[in-house]
Amino acid sequence: MSKLALLFFKRTPKLFLKVGLLSLFLFLLISSYGIGYAIFEKSSLTKTIGDIERDFEIEGEIKQNYTANNITLLFPYQNYWLEFKKEWTKFIISDNLILLINLAIDNHTLQIGLDLSESTENARTETIVDNSFNFFNSIIDISSFILLDELPFNLDILINYKLLNNSFSEEFKIGPNNCNLGYSVNLDEKLFSSLNSYLKTVDKMDEAFESFIAQTNLVYTNNLDSRRIETELSFSFAESFQSLLIVFTFVSILLSTWLIEFFLSFYNKQIAETLKNLEKRGLDTKNKTRITVFLPIIVDTTSLAILGLSFVVVDQVLSLNLIPAFIFALIGYLYLFYKRFKFNSLNEEHSTRMNTISVSIYIIVLIISALIPIIVNNIISALVPPLISSIISIGSSIVFYYIITIILSEIAYNVKRSRTNNKITDSISRLIEKTIISTKSNLKSWHSLTLLLVWAIVITNIGSNTFIAEYELYQETDYPTDLIIEIEEGYLANVSKLESILGIEFIFPVSHCTQKYMIDYDYYLMNFTKIDQKFPELIKRTKLNSIQTNHTYISESFAEELGFENENLFPTSFGENQTNIIVNQPVIITKYFPLVKEIDNRPFIVANYREAYSEFSEVTKLLVDFDVTLISTEQVVEKIRESTGSSVSIQNENEELDYNSILNTYKYLFFVIASFICLLGFIHFINKLSTIFNQMNSRGLETGKIRTLLIKEISYFILSAFSFGILSALFFLFVQLSNYIYKIPLFTPISIQFRPDLFLLFVIPSIIAIVIFSSRFKKNTHKTSY
């Protein structure tokens, strides 16, 4: 780079800073899809793994027969297991090397798991009173049970071998016919950026385990059977959220494309004007090219590098997979690169498309061009792999709507233009109209931008409201309480005291039993008497006061199999398609334990808190139902604070995953950026017009009159942009929305809110116009040299 070019760079730092910031902003906008998707991937990963708990398992058929006498021969294999785990320690939260035993008793098969791992430090255990247990003709003497939220391999029982006090009975026989060896691990999802990276690690572990198990000569390796976690997200809103991201994506990319064209010409013109001066001072063509082309490229490259660096930092800190986002930014960069080289002809004024026929032909060509991407999309997506096809799909949608936007802008512009041209310019207002029409490129840019923004806002509003309506419905059914209150230091006082507060209908105390178990475990307790009063349909048979603290819960069918007496049962029906029974005697922890219902992705255990209360360490959370006509949220919080003496806070939203806030942040950030851009475009347009209006002013046209006429004319373009925006949004709804937005049931009430943000598009430009014109023509004079 020559010294002159560097001098130019030094002399115009603001200009290059502007170009750099703009480029950075454009790349960021264009990569918004990648960022959104990375957040979604991460959230989905947390949600998926959080729900499934059991992450990965593999099993193989053992080779030898084992009886109660030699079963201990299996135990030394824990050392192999420890060796295998070493490499993966940092990812593993909990693990089990399990001997899976299928016991066929009469017509029933029970699958018991014998955990061969060194210890159960990652699992919680429970001691029962009678540790010698007669189970299906085998006497199993164990000191404790292992408690897991959900047992792997669909086990009915999981026992750690170290918890066995003595061996199985003589009748106990296991071998290749009824026994497999498997392992199960829970991986720490925080260390993975996406479901894909998680699955890749699982794949590697799979391979390593296979080779490990082959070395042990313990099982037939050809009989290895992997059972993976479900990779598809099963949540109804996952698909709709992804669809919304696609909507945001192509609107963002469309907007970025427009912006690149709009602002690039604007800043390039500024650079060109500065260069003119330098040319007069002897700048040669070679240096001019360097400054025009290469310097902005250096600025853009720096911007891209800064963005890339920020992505790497974010990636490291939050484990977000931002590679796709950077690829999008890179595409934006290449587009900008192409536009910079193409930008040479600055003459955009006075198009020759003046008559109706040529305009009609132009529009027909545009419509055909708009159809091509759809055809291309349909053909190509059938031929290429899904990943490429999805990118093509987004790309063709962008091209399609880009062209639609141009068509609508062109129509609005030409309708106005032909109207103006056909009339004799016999009045000032017609001349003003003509002036606006004449500044074609600026007008079209601004108009199209407004159109695009209105369109984008309408679509994102409808889309997100539809989504939120569905999701709120989901939340409503899942969270029956009005308020969830966190108690900072725990609370051991009488909960019934809280229930006596006027207006409070229910208090559901929630406890973390950290002292009793090895990991945090939420128990949701409630008063059955009140449940019976409020939801009588939920209680089929009640035997209040018959529940003991060591009760546990099994399914009704399993209870029947076990021959429990009706008197010992306490049936409830809280779980979906699940009837649960509380039994009056200890039972080995089974896969049925203890899920009755989930709240916050935790098991919701129903018990009579008055009796069970002492068993739990402390209440840390209160789920409160109250009558809003009698007491306000603030009053509830205050009363509870007074009663408990602890500091309390409201936990309104689901901590684990809040799609609404992600969505709203995304939506409003988009709106703020969009409004900002729209304003910039408008100010630029007004600035362009001001020169002409200054000339008119110097010929005696009063400022007030100019202002009135201008606002009147501008209003037409705002209104037309708004109308076309609504039209294109409706078009979008009919043509594409069914593919993108989650289809909600017909009976679901949807409120499509037209919030003030749409009307701000009218108000803000009008205010800006008034402010600009007030200051510009304040003195009714224009500058002159002397």
Binding site: L431, K434, S698, R699, G700, E702, K779, N780, T784, Y786
Partner: protein, 220 residues
């Protein structure tokens, strides 16, 4: 009688460094007089013209036109003064490129609220007299410098103002166009009995006018 009396006019431009463009300037220009204001660049010619034309307000002093002190005019009255009494001709023509020649000339008449029939007749007659009627529907950028300047003379004369102010009207023209435009300008001013004030340092113009006011550093 549209006599222009300039009394003790100062014009000081503010900023980091104050610039005195006019200093205690006094002058009297009679109706129908053709006057040139001569002086080097930065002597205050354009500023004086702008003050007379109501584009700039002097820092102090009086400019009396037809018995009215225009320095005391309100903004809106000043706009009316510019519209009804003054015709402006600029070195760079100052035509609106988005308007046709007809529209450019018609604009001051439209602003003045004249009727359409009158406007049409007036514009046609002006364009005819300046020999540019054939360009009526053309846009300014397609005309030569001389032709554009003739259009700007038509614009200046459109509202039949008593005072015509020309700021370096021949500055952008070649020798032949310069002679032609200047002859036309003076001829029209004399024919319509207008007061013509030309800011220039063109010696050719200085020969043609009735009187020359020499300016140097804002003073006579």
């Amino acid at each position: 009688m549209n006599q222009i009396i300039i009394e003790s006019v100062y014009k000081i431009y503010g900023g980091i460094v104050e610039t005195v463009a006019l200093e205690n300037f006094n002058e009297q220009i009679d109706e129908g007089e053709v006057v040139a204001i001569a002086g080097p660049s930065g002597s205050g010619k354009s500023t004086l013209l702008s003050c007379i034309g109501g584009i700039l307000r002097p820092t102090s002093g009086k400019i009396i036109v037809d018995s009215d002190d225009i320095t005391k005019f309100s903004d809106s009255k000043l706009v009316n003064y510019r519209r009804d009494h003054v015709g402006l001709i600029y070195q760079d023509f100052n035509l609106i490129s988005q308007f046709t020649i007809y529209e450019n000339v018609a604009l001051p008449l439209l602003i003045a609220g004249k009727k359409n029939d009158f406007i049409q007749e007036r514009v046609d007659s002006l364009l005819e007299s300046l020999d540019i009627k054939r360009y009526k529907k053309t846009y300014p950028q397609y005309l030569s410098g001389g032709e554009q300047q003739r259009v700007s003379i038509a614009v200046a004369l459109a509202n039949d103002p008593q005072i015509i102010l020309a700021d370096e009207p021949t500055g952008n023209l070649d020798l032949e166009a310069r002679k032609k435009v200047l002859s036309l300008l003076i001829e029209k001013a004399v024919a319509y009995k207008k007061t013509l004030i030309i800011a220039t340092h063109d010696p050719f113009i200085l020969e043609k006018v009735n009187r020359v006011i020499h300016l140097s550093k804002g003073k006579r």
